[in-house]
Amino acid sequence: MFDASVGLNHYLLLSVLLFVIGVAGVIFRRNAIIMFMSIELMLTSVNLTILAYSRYLGDHTGHVLVLFVFAVAAAEAAVGLAILVELFRKRDTVDVDRFRQLME
């Protein structure tokens, strides 16, 4: 009854866990850098899902797609961090609850 081999379901379970942790991080943490990291975590969990299915179905298109996602995530992280640095310079904080300009 205990199957020692690692199968598709394990990958998917891990992926869901990572995603939920990422969502919780975005919702509950106020530090912009932590939120940023949580978003990266969610991206990674999606990548993991894609790779798991790719292996499972024997279709290597998924591997290529993941490489693209990494590339976009890296670019996004660069822009996002740049914005964060700029915000910190202006306001001396990265607490997102202190930024409410989105209201306007």
């Binding site: 919702i27 509950f28 106020r30 300009q101 209201m103």
Partner: protein, 673 residues
Amino acid sequence: MHPITVEYLRWIVLLPLGGAAFLGITNRRLPTVVVSLVASLTVLGSFLLSAQAFFALRALPTAGRLLTDRVYSWMPVGDLRIDVSFMVDPLTAVMILFVTGVAFLIHIYSIGYMKGDRGYQRYFAYLNLFVGMMLILVLSDNLPLLFVGWEGVGLCSYLLIGFWFEDLANSAAGKKAFLVNRIGDFGFLLGMLLIARTLAGKVGGENLFSFAVMAQHTSLLAPVATAIGLLLFMGATGKSAQIPLFVWLPDAMAGPTPVSALIHAATMVTAGVYMVARMNFLYVLTPTAMAVVAVIGALTALVAATIAVTQDDIKKVLAYSTVSQLGYMFLACGVGAFGAGIFHVMTHAFFKALLFMGAGSVIHALHHQQDMRYMGGLRSKMPVTFVTMFAAMLAISGVFPFAGFFSKDEILYNTFLDSKVLWAIGYAVAGLTAFYMTRLLALTFFGKSRVDEEHVHEVHESPLSMTIPLMVLGVLSLIGGWIGWPHFLGGSNRFETWLAPVFRHGMEGEAMAHGAENAVHASAAAHAALAHGAETAVHAGGSTELALAVASLALALLGIAVGFVVYLRRLDVAEAARRAAGGRLYWLLKGKYFVDEIYEALIVRPGYWLSDIVFFRFTDAGLIDGVLVNGTARSLGILGSVLRLLQNGMLRWYAYSFTLGVLVILFYLVRHL
């Protein structure tokens, strides 16, 4: 027999309408001379064409006297076809001749009367439009086109009564005329729709509204004839100022005096009588409607005549006199003597136009003084006006051999055959008429002058353009009735013979009514039919007719004599009469039976209340402005202020709701797919 098509009939209508359009479009840009010429010559042209139509008609054999001119198909809707189509039969020929003739004289008169008025061109544009609309009304060969003219004269009366609209009272009088007429028109429209409903589908592919088609299918109309007759008569009470809708006519005096002459004599008010006479084939089917017409006519004649006795405004006296004379005409139609009614329409057109224009001449000379208490002694200063008005007074009083004698006598004779009570009312009114007309003349032209000291030396006879129409109408008031010279006086009553083909349906319908054992009241139309047609019956009734004529002549002379004695020698008698019965009677008559006040209280006030509270405050301001317009805006505003709470700028709140949304969608998908 096939009717004869003549294309000039349309020009009788188009000339004045064209004149109106031309004068209206070029308003205030033309010299006075051009305006006067265009306005009068177009009407003169119509008159000449009418005369041509008349002579063409007379040349035809009696049975085939019908000219038609189908201009175009106005409303071809499925089976229904309504044409713009004109016709001239003996009845229409009479109408167009005196309408255009009298209107032409009024145009000439207006040139003098309206001289120097700021709205000179506008005035003549309206006047031409009025004549054109009246001609559409009488020339139409079907009911809807008649209705166009019917509404058209209503519109023009509004425009002309309120002509001097700077004075609020005048425009109020115009509005009153328009609204009161509208009530009648509502009935007219319902009557027309009832005809359509009755005939639709049964008269296939034809113009079911044309008079010829309706007259052929009287058997289909017979079951609803009473309803149709009464509804159409409701229209006639509005247009021809009968009880209960006569209130607009006295107020119509607000317009320029020639307009009063036009409305009261040649056009507008005669439309109701004409319509009833035109629909004679329908009315003879329904003794009930005929009785209503006769009773309303007699009562109106009496009520208006009693009011006329007490009025001080010269135009008001004439106005109530018109209402009273119109009552006579309906009385005639109601007892089946349509020919006599139309005869009185024509003679009345002559002498009433003359009376109004004579009054206008006096008012003109006295610088717009209309109160007879400030007139008097004008006889020597205005001889032409005096002589012609005297002739008109004799005519309206029914003195032999003036025009009114013949027509009024024929009406009274036919009424006598039908109902002694109605005859007694008509007879009494004849005496009253003679009395109040004499009073008018005595107060205006005889006795000592009561004119203002300032103006008394300026009083002078009116210019020729005003006196010539007076003279022409004066002659017509004398000889205009001779074409109806009755048999018992050795004449041949050519007027009746001329109209007989139009009213022959009367006799056929009468036969039907007898067949239906519906004949309780039917003796009315039977007598009328006999009086119209069979010569033997006329001769048999000759001695009665002679006796009645002598009696009414005697009464007329008595009325005139009393009038002169009281208002020239014995003013104390008039004063005593005023005080009689504690002054109550005088108070009631002077107040015109307070009909206006009663309508004000019963209809106008509740109308205002309804408009203000229900229609304005509740419906318009409350429901439409409040709920629909502002309500929409306000509810969107409230929705917005709720939604605004969601957009609080908290990044984590956004992420939270975003996640929640995704979860809800996921939940839905999992459950349902």
